[in-house]
Subunit: 355 residues, 4 copies
């Protein structure tokens, strides 16, 4: 029950702290015979890596994965796959100053309440660096779902109040997304988002936004009824990403304002005529693209002085110490994709067991 | 993996179809020594029961629970508790007309893709009637968390675009909520919501809304890091409710538009000065009230003709058949509360294992 | 974690106490489309029912199952199946005398240490009556594995030191097993066993024995490596039956005395030439019959005075109170078969997810 | 469901192949604040290491563990602990000859049926080398249960038909066990066992035996009723060790021949007067030592020619290739201890959740 575990048929356990020796993942329940090599994983890790532009954290990590098990002669064997990524640019010394206080807006205080002990080096296990393990697992999950015709892609649809079109009603230029430093395929909106991030950073602030992930090629029938609904599993997986405060599927919160007739996706000739549902009906995929959006809060590490308490309960004032991202949205895109891929791989394998 | 299972330490399995003999739940992992009797469960079930006003489904179910196991001399023994509620007002005949078609907006088509077989009687397992099992389990969960000082309450904060204040920044009159037919504590907004529902119903339409659930007295330290975060488990649990299309915690989607300094909850004198986080930091409760909101779609069973297909793939037109709710929000309140209580009971018991 | 749960893909939760209103089971994860009716379940329950001969407990239970969910028009729908069996001949009054003491050899004392509360009516949840839920689940499991060509049969191979041939090296007359009151297919050994039971009963004693279960038609490839080995899952499932103190597979404890060359099953023409392994190699089925044996202790409810303590810790003397079996082996046969069938159904469904 | 996972509250996943880069383990759900360092783990690994005498495999592995996560300043933080042990003396070349055939008595054929692919290097994941991960996890489990006053020790009670006294009725000299090359505390029996192993090895044979594990200080109340009984979990955990074909608790198979009065452990003055039950009543610990025994088969890698088939189904003859143990019993002792410690740690943490 330690919490670092997700998935049943495709069972993932991640490990590692921001400033410990390494981060990584073990996946138990991988299909045998998948082509898999370290380059596939490295390519995904590169998409979430820090230090790639002035819009993200300057920490420089090569993020070179090593596959310790489960692959033989370039193919998965069915045995657990362990992937380890060493931390290279980890300087715990820069966190010495926060060893005795609870950084405002971080989980320092809640985790201390939970464990009665803390690893203060860069947030330890709390750090966004744990998402390296998620992305590595997602790379393996993509191989499984890819063989079944599914693909998962994400993009930024809002930063600091500047919005770009949803893939639900607009053709997204996915190549443009990948070449955009904010991962927005709309060049005008993307440029404005980048400006907003720089403006916030220059004033010691951070900004939030909305990331959308779309899974195409999802066959009808994935997801388990009642508590194991596909959208429920996606919500859990996406909400588990550090900065996420909301998850929606299809029309999401907008559905609260629609009338029944406008929410229903009618059918003709065997096809759905719309996708208000976001590809999921009563918790089970209906063959349409699965569309999820997540609300990403602004990172709490800002340059302003904020009031907090130390571990003895004394009032103290804190301002940023340590490297951080003024907007985490671009780097969350590959993490959110990984989570969707993990859920789909698990659902797909589970569905094989039923039929 | 059948999906009707939730929770680890407090392990819940529900069962039953809308028009089968019964619905119910088994809970494996109940703490021993809790006072529990059938009246406590009946009282909770009465809160979600249909047929109580002109705003909800006219189906008349007494929802009389029977406790089959796990309770002796008025106390839980630690053994699994099975609670069964017989279906009384179940008339499958009224669904004969939909036996061969996929009702638009329902999971008929996706579940058929999953299972290759269907129980067309009132949606079978898809029906909202399965939530009876959730509410019964929630009643037991409330006993566990109540002993630990936690309470869970919900209310409607929006229907058909008419909004009422959030508990996050307004004192809610909970007694007024319970006496309101729309479960809104604000009398003006509540009356307008009721009018909007009646207006929609009279034109054969349905409307959606937003339900908020607040858990008070949650001790700091609940929730497991990474994938098992408290907000992730809440998101899964709440998104698993039939009509829910979005979940948010604390500021939720609004967080996407805030700056870092405005999102952080500062502290002084050992207390948080605000609750933008909604009681959860880095996935672990921080001692503040846990605040969740869910987006509820309008029910798909409307009076208008909608295009769909039959099980042979032929185009057909369908309009409402069977009893339904023009707005499900009021009846979702006790269900959402139950899901939050279940998650908290499970998290609380899991945390005991760690320390 | 309450313990009344087994299986992953085929997920079983049992409930109910000896002298409560009912016993039963919910199975979440049943394949859809299986033919299933109440007679199939009743027939299996009849095989473990008490009151059928002078060799077993005189309690008279009709064991009439009711299927509350998951079956529609005679077929499974994929939804959870709840099966309830009412307790009819439950007379808690006869246990009043043991309400305040720990019966010797029973779990009264250990369960009280666990829960701090007890249901003293006939052992409550401890009672062998909980196996009704196992047998009902096993009946459903048999439908799944039966479709895949597997069958499970058990018989008594030893009682009170009197042994009968193992199916591993002797053709068992399964019809004779079923008509034998001790479930032994060898008429001479069976008669001696029956005499030994009567002799023990007449002197207020009970006797133990060994039950063997054989699964035929098990395809090669079932079982998960390392901790989830097929033999490991079988060992857990079989050891979980109340009176079982040992489990062995194939040669079992005899393997400790063999030399390597004598333990290996050689192959020729694609076939194994022997089955010392009992159908499982490195935890995975090899296509040969799976052979398990369990050691069944004599029931602790005897007519002699035995020293024990009451719940206040005072020394007391106890002799039998309540109905009991002088030898539980014949009635354990269908329970052990059910456990093997449950494990095979789960393994089979899990294996579908992998390939 | 990949099978390399065990435990709920104390959740263990192992990984690694005999001749891959490394073997190891991740434990999710470790209590925070435990003192833990690499030396503790190394000491346990040294107890199962090959190459330590002429009675075991000559493979030379230093088995140097590295802790990658979950420990900070010498204490566990509650985060997952990953421990990696590099394979050093791995020469896959020596297995090239078996790349295309199924070694007799090994899982090569059953695993190939399962996965359709194989890692033929020294058995890959099948190899006993995977037990390194178990022993590392066991070292962590010992810290948890040790704090609660529990200890776990094992010894060899039979090899090649030569038996030594059980700890159930004889005081074992545990120091003598550890200094004995066969891990038998009885010097006469131990010497005879060693002779028997050498004799078997000299004729190209292998021998089996029986290992006993005793857990002392186990508080009453551990274990979950019905399927999650403590003895059931122990049986699963112990049967999951590669060469094990049988598991028994307390009197075990001998219980089949006892009369009820002789099996019951009477009580006086609050104490049990005997321990036929092996410390477990109705699946829950009763405060007496927990006594388990496992039947270990002779290893199948012998010097004699044995008939088998190749992966194309052709008949072939095989004799030993690769390093092996003529008797695996001495090296299984620390593995079996580790499995018992893992089960107890998980049961102990689970029990904390209940009360």
């Amino acid at each position: 029950m330690g919490g670092s575990t997700i998935g049943s048929a495709f069972h993932v356990v991640t490990f590692g702290e921001s400033h410990g020796p390494a981060v990584g993942v073990v996946i138990d329940g991988v299909k045998p015979g998948l082509a898999l090599n370290v380059d596939v994983i490295r390519a995904e890790l590169a998409r979430r890596r820090p230090g790639t532009s002035d819009l993200v954290s300057p920490r420089r990590e090569p993020d070179m994965p090593e596959i310790l098990s489960g692959v033989f002669e370039g193919r998965t064997t069915g045995a657990p796959i362990c992937i380890v990524i060493r931390n290279v640019d980890a300087d715990p010394g820069e966190y010495q100053a926060v060893a005795d206080l609870f950084r405002p807006g971080h989980g320092d205080i809640s985790w201390f309440a939970k464990y009665g002990i803390r690893d203060w080096r860069g947030g330890g296990r709390q750090s966004g660096r744990e998402t390296v393990g998620r992305v590595a697992a997602g790379a393996v999950a993509r191989e499984i779902i890819g063989r079944a015709g599914m693909s998962v892609r994400g993009h930024v649809v809002e930063i600091a109040g500047i919005s770009a079109p949803s893939a639900a009603n607009h053709a997204v230029d996915w190549a443009a997304v990948e070449s955009s430093p904010v991962r927005c395929g709309d060049p005008v909106a993307g440029a404005a988002m980048a400006d907003a991030i720089r403006e916030a950073a220059s004033s010691g602030e951070s900004v939030g936004g909305i990331v959308e992930v779309v899974a195409a090629g999802v066959p009808a029938g994935l997801g388990e009824p009642v508590f194991g609904k596909l959208d429920a599993e996606l919500a859990r997986a996406l909400m588990s990403i550090g900065a996420v405060k909301g998850v929606e599927i299809g029309e999401g919160f907008n559905a609260a304002r629609l009338r029944g007739s406008d929410m229903v996706d009618e059918m003709a000739g065997g096809d759905f005529l719309s996708n208000h549902a976001g590809g999921i009906l009563a918790g089970v995929s209906n063959g349409m693209p699965v569309v999820c959006r997540i609300a990403v809060k602004p990172t709490p590490t800002v340059g302003h002085e904020l009031r907090t308490v130390d571990i003895d309960g004394n009032d103290v004032v804190f301002s940023r110490d340590g490297r951080s991202d003024p907007c985490i949205c671009p780097r969350i895109v590959p993490v959110a994709e990984a989570m969707v891929a993990i859920v789909l791989a698990d659902s797909y394998m589970s569905q094989q067991a039923v039929r």
